[in-house]
C-alpha cells in the first residue's frame, strides 16, 4: 500500500520506488493481512450486513394488514420510488438545501478560521466557544429557530418589522423559499464552526516561511491570501466540503421539526422515515433508504474524483 500523504506540510514519506517482490516481502505481507483480518472481518460485518439486509428488505413487500406476511417483488419498490413525483421533489429539495448550506458554511468557515488563526489573547477559549452551536442537539436548535421566526412573537420577525425591513410580516415557515431559507440558516449556524475547525487545522500547517517569502516579494495581503493561503488550504476545504455535503444530503431533523416537510422542504431521509416508521411499509421505505445511500455515495465519489485530483496536484507542486 502506498503511504504517500497528500497534505502539503507532511514530510515526504517512503520513497516511491517500485515495490520489490522478493519472498520475504510476500511473507511479510501475508502476515500483515492475517493480523488485520479479524478487524477487517468485523468491519465487514458491521457495515456490510446491515446494508445487505436493507437491500433484501427493499426487494420485498411486507404486509401492513396481516402480520408476518411478505412477498418478493424484485425491483418494484425502486421502480415505484423512481417514478414517483415525491421522490424527485425530495431529491431536488435535498440538493438545493445541500448546495446553499455547504457553500455558505465553507465561506463563513474559512473566514472564521482566518480570524481564529490570528494571535490574540483568549484564542484558546474562543476556539472552544465557537463550537457551542455544534454541541447543541439539532432538534433543540431547530425549536429555537422555529420560535425566532414565529410570526407575531418571534425575535427575528419582530426585529424586522420594528426596523421596517422586508420579511417582518412574512410567515417564514409557511412559504416556499422562505421555509428553505430558515432551514439553511439553522444548518449554517450550527455547523459552520465544524467547517471552521477543519479549515483552521489546515491553516496551521502552512509554514510561516511561505508567508515571509511572500512578504519579501512585496505581495499584498489580498495577493497572499489568494495565491498562498487559498491554494494551500484547498485540501482542508475539500475535506470539510465532503463531510458537510454527506451530512447535508442526509438532512432529517431540521425539516422534520421546522416544517414537517411542508413548503418544499421534504428531504430524501424524511421520505424514507415516513414510509418506514409511520407507515410501516418496510420494503418501500428500505428502497428509499438505499436510493438515498446511493445518492450520497455517488456524490462522494464525484467529490473525491475532482476535489481529490486537485489535492494531488497541490501535493505534487509542493514536492
Amino acid at each position: 500500500m502506498a503511504t504517500k500523504t497528500i497534505a502539503p506540510s507532511a514530510p515526504p514519506s517512503a520513497p516511491p520506488s517500485a515495490p520489490r517482490t522478493n519472498a520475504r516481502d510476500r511473507a511479510e505481507r501475508r502476515l500483515a493481512f492475517r493480523m488485520t483480518a479479524p478487524s477487517l472481518i468485523l468491519m465487514a460485518l458491521v457495515a456490510a450486513v446491515p446494508i445487505g439486509y436493507a437491500i433484501w428488505l427493499s426487494l420485498n413487500q411486507y404486509s401492513v394488514r396481516t402480520a408476518g406476511l411478505s412477498r418478493f417483488v424484485g425491483l418494484d419498490n425502486y421502480i415505484a420510488a423512481l417514478t414517483s413525483q415525491e421522490w424527485w421533489a425530495a431529491f431536488g429539495q435535498t440538493f438545493t438545501f445541500a448546495a446553499f448550506s455547504v457553500t455558505l458554511e465553507l465561506i463563513l468557515g474559512t473566514a472564521m478560521a482566518l480570524l481564529l488563526n490570528l494571535a490574540f489573547k483568549g484564542r484558546a477559549v474562543l476556539r472552544t466557544v465557537v463550537l457551542l452551536p455544534y454541541a447543541i442537539i439539532t432538534v433543540v436548535s431547530a425549536i429555537t429557530w422555529q420560535t425566532m421566526f414565529q410570526p407575531n412573537l418571534g425575535l427575528v420577525t419582530n426585529v424586522l418589522s420594528t426596523l421596517g425591513l422586508p420579511g417582518g410580516d412574512v410567515v417564514w415557515l409557511g412559504e416556499h423559499g422562505y421555509a428553505m431559507a430558515v432551514i439553511v440558516m439553522a444548518d449554517v449556524w450550527k455547523t459552520t464552526p465544524f467547517a471552521a475547525l477543519i479549515i483552521l487545522a489546515g491553516l496551521q500547517v502552512i509554514s510561516a516561511e511561505t508567508y515571509e517569502a511572500a512578504e519579501l516579494d512585496g505581495a499584498s495581503k489580498w495577493q497572499t491570501f489568494l495565491h498562498i493561503t487559498l491554494p494551500l488550504l484547498r485540501p482542508a476545504i475539500v475535506l470539510a466540503a465532503i463531510f458537510r455535503t454527506m451530512d447535508a444530503l442526509r438532512v432529517f431533523d431540521l425539516p422534520f421539526v421546522l416544517t414537517r416537510g411542508a413548503n418544499g422542504t421534504e428531504s430524501m431521509s424524511m421520505l424514507a422515515y415516513t414510509q418506514l416508521r409511520e407507515n410501516r411499509l418496510v420494503g418501500e421505505g428500505s428502497a428509499l433508504s438505499i436510493l438515498t445511500f446511493l445518492t450520497v455515495m455517488v456524490v462522494s465519489v464525484i467529490y473525491i474524483r475532482f476535489g481529490g485530483g486537485n489535492i494531488r496536484d497541490v501535493a505534487k507542486e509542493e514536492q
Binding site: 411486507y62 433508504s289 465519489v301
Partner: protein, 436 residues
C-alpha cells in the same frame, strides 16, 4: 470523527473511497436500524379473548406501558388501583417522551412478542392497526359488560372488524376558546369566521401545520358539514361536495383575515402561545389549555365553547384520548382485566377529571358537583365529546391521515386548487386502502 484532529490528511484514494463508503454505510445503517423483524402470521381473526370475570380472582403484578406521564394520571391510577385492589399491584412504565416515540416503542415490543408490558396505552388512532396485526387481546366481552357506564362515541374508537380491542380510559375533544370582551360565543363555524374577520384582534388560531393535528382540525369541520372519509363499509367517500365546501371555506378564511396565515406553522403549543399574546379572538385547542390560560392575564376574559355547528348542519368533532389495550403476550391477563375494570369505574372517572383535568369516558362524571367545581367547562366538554366521531378506522390510518393533511395543507397554503386536492386525496386514500 475526532474533532481535535480534523485535518488529518486522507490517505490514498482507495482509503478515501473506503472512508466515504463506510460513512455512507453508517448513514444507511442508522436509517434502517428501526426496521426489521416480523411476527409470525397471526391476524385479528385468531386473537384470544379477555374474560371479563377473570378480574375478580386476579393477583400478581401488572405493568402498564405508554407515553411520558405529564399530568401524573397513569402513575396515579396505578397507585390508586394497587391500594384499592389489595391483591394485584400495578405500575406504570414510561416508554417514550412523545406520542410518536411511544408508538415506535410499543410496535417494537409487540413485534418482538415482549412480555414486559401487560397493558399498552394506545392512542385512539392506533387501536385498529394493532388489532389487525393480532397483537391485542379481544376485549369485546369486557367492553360489552362495561358498556352502560361508557360514552358510546368513545367505545367506537376501540372497534375493528366488529370487535372491541381496548377499553377507553379517558377521551379528548376540541374546544373553542374565545375572548368574551371582543367576540361572541360561536354557534356556527360561519359565524365564528365572520366575527373573526371583523377586526384586527378578533382572528382565529388553530393547528394548520402539515401534521396529524391538521387532519383533526379539518375533520372536525368536515364531520359537522355532514362529510366523511370512509363510510361504514370502508368505501372512500372523501370526494364530495362537503369536502370541497370545507376546503374553500378554510382557504377563504386565510385570505380574508378570519385566520392568520401563521396558523400554517402552528401545532398545539404555538397556537396557544399566539392566543395568549392577546392578539386573537378565537382559538381551537384541547381541554388542557384551560388550566394554562387561567395562569395568564387573559384568565378573566376568556370563555369556553364546544365546537360550533356547520351552518344548516350539526355540531361535531373528532375524538382524541387514550385506550387501554391488553397485549396478546401479557402473562397476567386477569390482572390487566382487573386494572381496566378499576380505571373505568364511575368513581375513578371522576378523579380523572378532578385530579388530572382529563375528559372522563363516563357521562355521569361530567355533572358531578365536585367535578364541575374543578372543571367548570365540563358541560361544554361533554357536548363536544358526545358529538365527536372517531377518525377513519383502518390499519393504514397513518397513510390516510397523510393523504388528508398534505392535500389540505396544499389548498390552505395556496399551492393547489380545491378540485385537484380533493381528487388527489381520494386517489391517495384509495391507494392506501389497497396496501398489501
Amino acid at each position: 470523527m475526532d474533532l481535535n484532529r480534523p485535518a488529518l490528511p486522507l490517505q490514498n484514494k482507495a482509503a478515501r473511497n473506503k472512508a466515504a463508503l463506510a460513512a455512507s454505510a453508517i448513514a444507511v445503517a442508522l436509517l434502517l436500524s428501526a426496521c426489521g423483524g416480523g411476527a409470525a402470521p397471526q391476524g385479528a381473526e385468531q386473537a384470544a379473548a379477555a374474560d371479563p370475570a377473570s378480574g375478580a380472582n386476579a393477583s400478581g403484578a401488572v405493568n402498564i406501558c405508554g407515553v411520558k406521564d405529564a399530568s401524573g394520571i397513569y402513575k396515579g391510577t396505578a397507585e390508586a388501583f394497587t391500594k384499592a385492589n389489595g391483591k394485584v399491584t400495578a405500575k406504570y412504565t414510561e416508554i417514550g417522551a412523545t406520542t410518536d416515540e411511544a408508538r415506535t416503542q410499543i410496535v417494537q415490543r409487540l413485534e418482538g412478542k415482549s412480555t414486559e408490558c401487560d397493558i399498552f396505552l394506545s392512542d385512539v388512532i392506533w387501536t385498529s392497526e394493532f388489532a389487525s396485526q393480532g397483537w391485542l387481546l379481544d376485549q369485546t366481552e369486557l367492553v360489552e359488560a362495561n358498556k352502560d357506564r361508557l360514552i358510546p362515541s368513545t367505545v367506537e374508537t376501540t372497534k375493528y372488524q366488529d370487535k372491541y380491542w381496548a377499553s377507553p380510559f379517558f377521551t379528548n375533544a376540541g374546544l373553542i376558546y374565545y375572548q368574551k370582551d371582543k367576540v361572541a360565543k360561536p354557534e356556527t363555524w360561519q359565524q365564528l369566521y365572520t366575527e373573526a374577520a371583523k377586526a384586527q384582534g378578533n382572528g382565529f388560531v388553530y393547528q394548520g401545520k402539515q401534521y396529524e393535528g391538521l387532519t383533526v382540525n379539518f375533520l372536525e369541520m368536515l364531520y359537522s358539514a355532514g362529510g366523511e372519509v370512509l363510510d361504514d363499509q370502508g368505501n372512500v367517500k372523501i370526494d364530495s361536495k362537503e369536502t370541497r365546501d370545507v376546503l374553500d371555506f378554510m382557504s377563504k378564511g386565510l385570505k380574508d383575515g378570519s385566520a392568520d396565515r401563521a396558523v400554517l406553522t402552528y401545532n398545539e403549543d404555538p397556537a396557544r402561545l399566539a392566543y395568549e399574546s392577546g392578539k386573537f379572538g378565537y382559538q381551537r385547542n384541547w381541554p388542557h389549555v384551560y388550566r394554562l390560560l387561567n395562569a395568564t392575564p387573559l384568565a378573566d376574559s376568556f370563555g369556553v365553547a364546544p365546537l360550533p355547528a356547520w351552518e344548516g348542519g350539526k355540531a361535531s368533532g373528532v375524538l382524541g384520548g387514550w385506550n387501554l389495550a391488553i397485549s396478546a403476550h401479557s402473562t397476567n391477563q386477569a390482572g390487566a382485566v382487573a386494572f381496566i375494570d378499576f380505571a373505568t369505574t364511575p368513581d375513578w372517572q371522576k378523579h380523572v377529571a378532578m385530579d388530572y383535568s382529563q375528559a372522563p369516558v363516563n357521562e355521569a362524571a361530567y355533572s358531578d358537583p365536585a367535578v364541575l367545581e374543578k372543571m367548570p367547562f365540563a358541560t361544554e366538554l361533554l357536548a363536544s365529546v358526545k358529538g365527536a366521531k372517531p377518525r377513519p378506522i383502518s390499519p393504514v390510518y397513518p397513510q390516510i391521515s397523510q393523504a388528508i393533511y398534505k392535500n389540505v395543507y396544499a389548498v390552505l397554503s395556496g399551492t393547489d386548487s380545491t378540485e385537484d386536492a380533493v381528487k388527489k386525496m381520494a386517489d391517495e386514500i384509495t391507494t392506501a386502502k389497497a396496501s398489501f
